[in-house]
């Protein structure tokens, strides 16, 4: 092909040849500089538009080349194959001034265009796949494309893969025939027949309007969340409650002695703060660290946390809220006391942010401030324990010939029996009593 001196920049019409970087006979690659040309503005390297062999140059060093007139001839591989004989042109003195073949007028172009006329046919031919046969073995249509198949989101597919659940056995209960997380989890239970399909639900009779008028009140968002959390808690854990009366006479005295300091600091130093302090201390003991762990049943792992995020169940007019004090293990009793007051206040005023009710590792339920000695607190799933604090009471005992009156704290510890053994729970409560009075 004849390579015309390309337009190298706005307004440049000619340039003086400075150096030929390639000589006749050299093999050149596409984009490889062939020649240096000095224009009004700069010295520029002119790259080759194609790979091939330099067969002819039209200007010697020092001569002025005109833009869009032939600069050199480059024999492309294809040309070499097509016409090997034409590579040596007869030594004709006039041939250096005018090319033998005048190129078609392809315009006053900035840059260079690929031209079908100077390319091997296979390069410019619109690539045609009409005769192409794809491999038969892998030819298949998208298995998800048929409309009757349940629809499965990637997240659910991954869950099914992780849980080794066969998706073809899953019954889709979501809207528009979609498979929900619950549908997959339903098949992870040991009883594979336990289906949670809508059809499988027993027919409950909720409305009894034949006896009188009724009022239907939709659940609030908070109530729906509570209901769902409670059901998950029972679904995924094996809850047992251990109850005991803890003697806390020494603690009462300790709190009395600290009251002046509390008043000076302006902090409401409740028994709950002391109880939390003692819980934290007990949980740090190696045997009881697993009570602060989480059980990842999907991967069958126990995840130990070296921090404690404490949820405190708070009764509000909109329902039960469990604000969480993050990294409570770093706080002293004064900070704990202040945090409890602040969170309770926030919860009651509906000022709790979503952040404040997330990610607890244990929970404390202080129903005793309202009334009642023992209860069966429900695990704030996936926490492994929930400690219920009952109403303080007095106990009269006869020890070593003496009648003695003690203050007792009725305590109910609910734990997940999947992970926590009864003996561990009992020993935890024993140690807690010691720590409460130390």
């Amino acid at each position: 092909m004849i390579f015309n001196f390309p337009d190298v920049g706005e307004g440049i019409h000619e340039g003086v040849i400075v150096t030929w970087l390639k000589k006749v006979g050299d093999e050149i690659k596409e984009d490889e500089p062939i020649v240096e040309v000095e224009t009004d503005k700069a010295v520029v390297e002119i790259p080759s538009p194609t790979s091939g062999k330099l067969t002819k140059i039209y200007y010697e060093v020092g001569q002025t080349a005109i833009v869009h007139t032939p600069l050199c001839d480059i024999q492309t591989v294809n040309e070499a194959e097509a016409a090997p004989a034409s590579t040596t042109s007869p030594a004709n003195p006039t041939a250096s001034a005018t090319p033998a073949v005048q190129p078609a007028d392809s315009g006053n172009v900035v840059g260079s265009l690929e031209d079908a006329d100077s390319m091997p046919k296979s390069n410019f031919d619109p690539l045609d796949f009409s005769s192409y046969q794809s491999g038969n073995t892998i030819k298949s249509t998208n298995p998800t494309a048929t409309s009757t198949e349940p629809k499965i989101l990637p997240k659910i597919r991954k869950l099914a893969t992780d849980l080794k659940v066969d998706l073809s056995k899953v019954t889709a209960t979501g809207a528009n025939n979609t498979v929900t997380e619950q549908d997959v989890l339903a098949l992870t239970n040991s009883n594979q027949n336990l289906q949670t399909t809508k059809e499988a639900l027993p027919k409950f009779k909720f409305s009894l309007s034949e006896y009188g008028t009724e009022r239907v009140e939709p659940l609030t968002t908070v109530r729906k969340a509570i209901a769902s959390n409670m059901m998950n808690s029972f679904k995924y854990s094996a809850q047992v409650t251990h109850s005991d009366d803890l003697v806390v006479t020494a603690l009462v005295a300790k709190r009395e002695s600290m009251k002046p300091e509390a008043e000076a600091k302006g902090v409401k130093l409740t028994f709950l703060s002391f109880i939390i302090e003692a819980i934290l201390k007990t949980l740090k003991e190696s045997e009881f660290q697993k009570l602060n762990a989480s059980y990842d049943f999907v991967n069958q792992n126990l995840i130990y946390h070296d921090f404690i995020n404490l949820g405190v169940a708070v009764d509000t007019e909109h329902g039960l809220i469990v604000p969480v004090i993050k990294n409570v293990e770093k706080l002293d009793i004064w900070a704990i006391a202040q945090n409890i007051v602040d969170l309770a206040e926030k919860a009651k005023n509906k000022k709790v942010a979503l952040e404040d009710i997330k990610d607890s590792t244990i929970t404390v339920t202080n129903y005793g401030s309202i009334g009642g000695k023992y209860a069966t607190p429900v695990l704030n799933y996936p926490n492994l324990i929930n400690i219920g604090i009952g109403k303080f009471d007095q106990k009269v005992s006869y020890i070593d010939g003496q009648i003695r009156t003690d203050t007792i704290l009725p305590l109910s510890l609910t734990y997940d029996h999947q992970i926590i053994d009864g003996a561990v729970a009992a020993r935890f409560v024993n140690r807690l009593q010691e720590n409460l009075n130390s």
Binding site: P6, G107, V109, V110, L127, F129, I138, A145
Partner: protein, 325 residues
């Protein structure tokens, strides 16, 4: 049948269109005597006279502004913008007037016209000569944006645009202006502006491309299928606004795997838009994330580096492997 290159096919379309409709006026820089920098308008001035093939001053604002006045008054202007990078002085007219007259006047006045723009990189040119800004135009309501990928579609689409009652941005893939020779019918024919073209039907993966990148994509596929005999579906998008989602979505639902190849900067591009619609409409049919093979979020580099910017066989093959994984 004789074979034409894209340049010749466009030139023939203009000749036939102007014969058919004497309201068509071609205007632009050097379009008359010179026949345009790429020679698309060759011979028009000789045949139809200086009043229908008008050499304008170097003012894209003037070219498109004049076209608005002409079209409102019953003419059908065909503007030539010399290079894509030069269109911006006229962009104000496009976004504020060309696309709006039908709405602004409640249909009383319209601005049918074709704005021809040599488009894309790959010709070893200077700054402002190689950009791919199709997403900017596709973002504008009220105009059609189309791009042919071979001589046959170039002629049919341009004649289709010349019959449209609305303005069309007609992007011309300059890299392949002369690179493809193809049989093109001599007679007048049109191709609908808003239809994608299925180049090959297949069941395993959908590859969407357009313009010069369609050819690169085909080259990559020709190599790829030598070792991976996949049953691919190849779509030439053709219409960049409106996008033919009937075709795109049906294909996405069928194959569940979609690869989009173009040379625009990546962010907020046309490929991103198509991917967004596919996930909205076909989420449950997808077997892999929608993969984009595009240019980069950089200024289009100068000639020495442009092949690093424009997706080539290597990057398209990587995309194929990703979408088939």
């Amino acid at each position: 049948m004789r074979e034409l290159k894209i340049v010749d096919a466009l030139n023939e379309a203009l000749h036939q269109g102007m014969e058919q409709n004497d309201k068509i006026i071609v205007l632009g820089e050097d379009v008359g005597k010179e026949g345009g920098v790429f020679r698309v308008t060759t011979g028009l001035q000789k045949k139809f006279g200086v009043e229908r093939s008008v050499d304008t001053p170097l003012s894209e604002g003037g070219i498109i502004g004049s076209a608005i006045g002409l079209s409102i008054n019953g003419f059908f202007p065909v503007c030539e913008i010399q290079f894509d990078g030069f269109i911006w002085p006229g962009f104000d007219h496009i976004i504020n007037h060309v696309c709006r007259f039908r709405t602004r006047t409640r249909g009383r006045l319209t601005t049918p016209m074709v704005i021809r723009v040599p488009f894309g990189g790959g010709i070893h040119a200077l700054e402002h000569h190689s950009e791919s800004m199709e997403a900017v135009f596709s973002h504008i309501p009220g105009i059609n944006v189309v791009i042919p990928s071979d001589p046959f579609s170039a002629k049919g689409l341009l004649l289709g645009a010349l019959e449209s009652k609305d303005p069309t941005i007609f992007l011309e893939p300059k890299k392949i202006y002369r690179a493809i020779k193809q049989e093109v019918p001599e007679e007048y024919y049109t191709i609908p502006l808003n239809k994608a073209r299925i180049e090959r039907e297949g069941s395993q993966v959908t590859i969407i491309s357009y313009g010069a990148m369609l050819r690169e994509t085909k080259k990559a596929l020709a190599e790829f299928i030598k070792t991976n005999p996949i049953d691919f579906e190849l779509i030439d998008l053709v219409s960049l606004s409106p996008i033919d989602y009937d075709t795109v979505i049906a294909s996405a639902k069928k194959t569940g795997r979609i690869l989009i190849v173009n040379e625009e900067p990546r962010t907020a591009g046309l490929a991103a838009e198509i991917a967004a619609v596919i996930q909205e409409k076909c989420l449950f049919d997808l077997q892999a994330p929608v993969i984009r093979v595009t240019g980069f979020d950089t200024i289009m580099p100068l000639l020495k580096n442009e092949d690093y910017y424009i997706p080539g066989i290597k990057r398209i093959t990587k995309g194929l492997n990703q979408v088939l994984a």
